[in-house]
Symmetry: C2
Subunit: 320 residues, 2 copies
């Protein structure tokens, strides 16, 4: 068991964040991990209500994630997609046959009035996930990617257009009217968390939508729990996804330092500690000048042991 | 080619009617068969818009029907259903993985504003079906089965409860406000059909909902085309489905004579000729007393040749 006592809150997007979440779930006692998950990537497609980040978390934590593809379910088949293609229907968003069951059931339950938080808890129970998976909100928030090809809904940018359009900015439609997850807000008020971790997810499209929910980042800052951020950029590269490409297009240097600067400027006083990879050790001084502690370790999570090691390391950090 | 000149209109429910429709499509020139299909069995399930009878017609006429199951697609897989069952979601209505594509695409297109008639034509085109498949209406009509276990939506009675509750009657929710298919009504006004065939489908839950659409059966009666009905009851038994069981529960003798009586009483003057199986030849006299011609042939369609033979036979009938 890890050194930290009490519950742990992790903020996460999809694949990159889920890796650290899996390590955390492994090293914490069952039920002590809470993951607050981005839902601004959610979208409706073929009439289905699809929550890519929530599903990635649940599939990863239940041992069902497809390790080859990096998304979806292990041992998946693609009969429905194949038939959709033959019909000439939209087939750019790949939905596996078993994954389809998740979307169908969620779509039906939400249409029947169930809230996303309640459905996610039900799905987690059925998948035997003991960690608490909290959608960031029950309200509709949608990431719009502003690009040189115009404004694109996130999945159109990310999947259909394969992140090719050059990014000029982001907005989160609906965010000003959205209520952050009430259970997490109540736990924060009750000082229930011993530690808050911001997973190595994309800062712009995975973590920003969570932190910019009204009242959320200030509640995190006011909480006594240290806030530890794990850099998603290692040696100038994003280990997963378009973060580095986005930074370059936004005129930023693609580096862990710029990620730290982004968080410290946008959310002053939030971060207590910023975790960088050993390959970025030379950046430590400049990051400390932002007023944040720096911790250095190997942050590349290839094996299950890598994930557990990084989880233990991050849980041992208390900040300044 | 069959003897009849001009287009042919067949009224059909699902499996039983689709057999004769396949025979008709085989013996008529491409594009000359029009099938007016029951949609009162349609329902929403798992958020999907499902049209069992339309799909059975399209799958049968495109050579994709599952000959073993008698419904769905040949060579189907069941991954989504298996995953739904494991999640504990509703899995009583079996949807194959490739069949799922049809429902997803239809649900999406209808939600986007396409009418069922237009979507059905598009689907027929993509499946290379040259016959015209006309949903009986674009409006919502739903069969309610009144039973000793209370009122049941059709698919709950038919699939979930496997026709076990005893039937006391039927109603077609929404029918008085529904508009019959406008293309078919226009073709009837234009006297475009040389013949009208009522397929050996269930009279109560497949054909009655079509005929009871406001204005439809009178338009058929006024049309110069002879109306030929093929009995769905042979030797007192329904070849497919619960028609015989329903008749017994409704206090009727389960026989071709009672089917003829049902049509002649409910739709006086509509039928010109009633086709019965050779095994029911002794009923011919009593049926003729209802004021309708009787034609006798082998009506059991096992092989493809059986279907074509019955189609040719029915197309050769002109009534009185």
């Amino acid at each position: 068991m890890a050194a930290v006592q009490g519950d742990v809150l992790a903020l996460s997007g999809g694949v990159g964040g889920a890796k650290l979440a899996l390590g955390l779930a492994d090293v914490l006692a069952p039920g002590r991990l809470h993951v607050l998950v981005n839902t601004a990537d959610d979208f409706r497609h073929l009439g289905l209500y699809i929550c890519p980040d929530i599903d990635t978390l649940l599939y990863t934590l239940s041992g069902r994630a497809n390790s080859t593809l990096g998304w979806g379910l292990e041992g998946e088949t693609w009969q429905t997609m194949s038939a959709l293609e033959q019909l000439g229907a939209d087939a750019w968003f790949r939905l596996g046959d078993r994954d389809m069951a998740t979307h169908l059931w969620r779509t039906e339950q939400l249409a029947g009035g169930m809230r996303l938080t309640a459905f996610t808890a039900l799905l987690a129970e059925r998948l035997s996930v003991s960690s608490h998976i909290h959608p960031m909100t029950n309200d509709r928030v949608r990431t719009i990617v502003h690009t040189d090809s115009g404004d694109l809904p996130f999945q159109h940018y990310f999947v259909r257009d394969q992140c090719k359009p050059a990014v000029t900015g982001f907005s989160f439609d609906g965010i000003s009217a959205a209520h952050p997850n009430r259970d997490v807000m109540r736990l924060l008020q009750q000082k229930a968390f011993a530690q808050v971790l911001i997973c190595p997810s994309n800062p712009f499209v995975s973590i920003d939508p969570i932190l910019q929910l009204p009242g959320l980042w200030l509640a995190l800052r006011e909480s006594p729990a240290p806030v530890v951020v794990v850099s998603p950029i290692v040696a100038g590269l994003a280990l997963k996804g378009p973060a580095a490409k986005m930074m370059a297009e936004l005129g930023m240097v693609s580096s862990a330092l710029e990620v730290a600067r982004h968080y410290s400027q946008r959310y002053p006083g939030l971060m207590d500690c910023f975790v960088i990879d050993e390959s970025d050790a030379t950046l430590a001084g400049a990051i400390r000048e932002l007023g944040v502690e720096v911790a250095i370790t190997s942050t590349v999570m290839k094996s299950r042991a890598d994930k557990q090691d990084l989880a233990r390391f991050a849980l041992g950090l208390r900040g300044s």
